[in-house]
Amino acid sequence: MRWDAETSWLVAGTFVLLVAASACCAALRRRCGDRPNPALDNLVARTRAWWVMAFVFLFNLAVGHWGVTLMFCLVSFMALREFVTLNPTKRGDHRTLFWVFFIITPLQYALVGIRWYGLFQILIPVYAFVLIPIRSVLTGDTDQFLERNAKIQWGLLVCVYFVSHIPMLLVLQIPGYEGENAKLLFFFVAVVQISDVLQYVFGKLMGRRKIAPGVSPNKTLEGFVLGVLAASATGAALWWATPFSPGQAFVMALVITVMGFAGGLVMSAIKRDLGVKDWGHAISGHGGFMDRIDSLCFAAPVFFHLTVFYFGAGTDGLEPGWVRGILAPF
């Protein structure tokens, strides 16, 4: 990875945003005085958590490929932990879940680490999806068999497979953009997260009509439209950091923000069905890991494959040379 002037601008921009957010919090606090205000407390907690998340994210981005891979591996692990905790599994799923947590998840990220795109793409949808029901059927418990396996497979798909496409962005080979993929990853994460924040802000300020009252009562039409448009404009304004033209950057940002909204809505539907507000309590003010990454989950694979498709990019898909060396005698 190369640290160039553009990277410095992106990092500087992030800090300007965070400082502005903290300044807003301080101003609001002064205005409210000592009166207790849970909404403001939540805003302050959220902003504080943003500082930490931005630091961790940028630090790992600076460390490079393995840093980013390890970070998203942990994020996937924590999100899956929340997902399985809230979705009742049975005694018969114990050993299947052991495989899912301790073998399949690390293996998926190991493939990102060694840049083996071919196996990365099929490890979960083929091998893990075959393994999971086989391991479960060996326990002999047939009660709600399909439902139990579907839940585990779905959790693995959303929390691990989809999310692992984010660090895989660093492996893409885009002609004329070699060594600059960290900025593409930054673009993706920043646009989706800024869209989340802007949808929240616009929704709070001028939200009138509920967009999905049955699923997520806090989401409004105004928040969605204005948030998505503003985030897409931000994406277009960041075109210089990406391999896209300004127009392409706008369309890409529009696609991932809409996908982010849809992902958040789907995960909200699951939470609502389970009767909970948040997936967990790990990130103060935000809820759990899953609450923070729900919008990234669905956007990541779409962004990844659109980039591959339109920009002639790709990976060779083959196993790394040293793996070929090991396999050669067989």
Partner: protein, 219 residues
């Protein structure tokens, strides 16, 4: 376990079991002995309660475990004696040489230790809480000044169920309820049922208690 290592071990256990700890507002924890009684469903139960306790209480708290189970095999004996400093009691009435209630009473009045008791007697599936055995009642009668603290553990049966060796990393909860005592003239059956219900009430989020804030992951 004591010393600087214990603090680290406790933090590691809290991290690995993903435990969220909540306390009843009426519960004070100082150095005085207490009897914690909890639902039992996993080998992790004691270590999670132990790791959730504040340091001064943790250092003087010992679990009560079954002698027939924990003295079998070198590993179990080492764990129960050296690591957890468990008070091992004889479950079999016929083989008993000493009354376990006497031993526990000495532990509390003599050593000033707190104890962790699982009055169900054995690990359950985690779905139900079985009727309590009478040991808790006998202790409550002999030690009327010692507060009895109900503890509800959640999800540990999924993290490490009975019969499994390897845990899976789910999130759990450990809720400490309001201390209680044996009522004047309360019968054995009534007391044991009330104690059992105080643990169940924690699960269901009793008003004013821990986990009643409405944002609980499970209910």
């Amino acid at each position: 376990m004591k010393g600087p290592g214990a603090r680290l071990v406790a933090a590691a256990i809290r991290l690995l079991s993903g435990v969220r700890v909540a306390w009843h507002e009426a519960l004070e924890l100082d150095g005085r002995p207490r009897i914690f009684f909890a639902n039992h469903m996993s080998h992790l139960d004691f270590i999670v309660i132990w790791s959730a306790l504040p340091k001064p209480v943790r250092e003087s708290t010992r679990p009560v475990a079954a002698k027939d189970y924990w003295e079998r095999g070198r590993l179990r004996r080492c764990l129960s004696e050296k690591v957890f400093q468990a008070a091992l009691v004889d479950r079999g009435r016929a083989t008993r040489t000493a009354n376990p209630i006497d031993e526990l009473e000495t532990l509390i009045t003599g050593d000033r230790s707190s104890i962790i008791l699982f009055p169900e007697g054995t690990r359950g599936s985690g779905d139900e809480i079985s009727p309590f055995k009478s040991g808790l009642y006998h202790l409550a009668r002999r030690l009327p000044a010692t507060p009895l603290v109900p503890v509800y553990l959640e999800n540990l049966n999924r993290i490490l169920p009975k019969g499994e060796v390897l845990p899976i990393p789910l999130l759990s909860r450990c809720l400490f309820g309001a201390p209680t005592r044996l009522g004047a003239g309360e019968t054995r059956a009534a007391f044991l049922e009330r104690a059992r219900r105080s643990v169940l009430a924690l699960r269901d989020g009793e008003p004013g208690g821990p986990g009643s804030t409405g944002d609980d992951p499970q209910r």
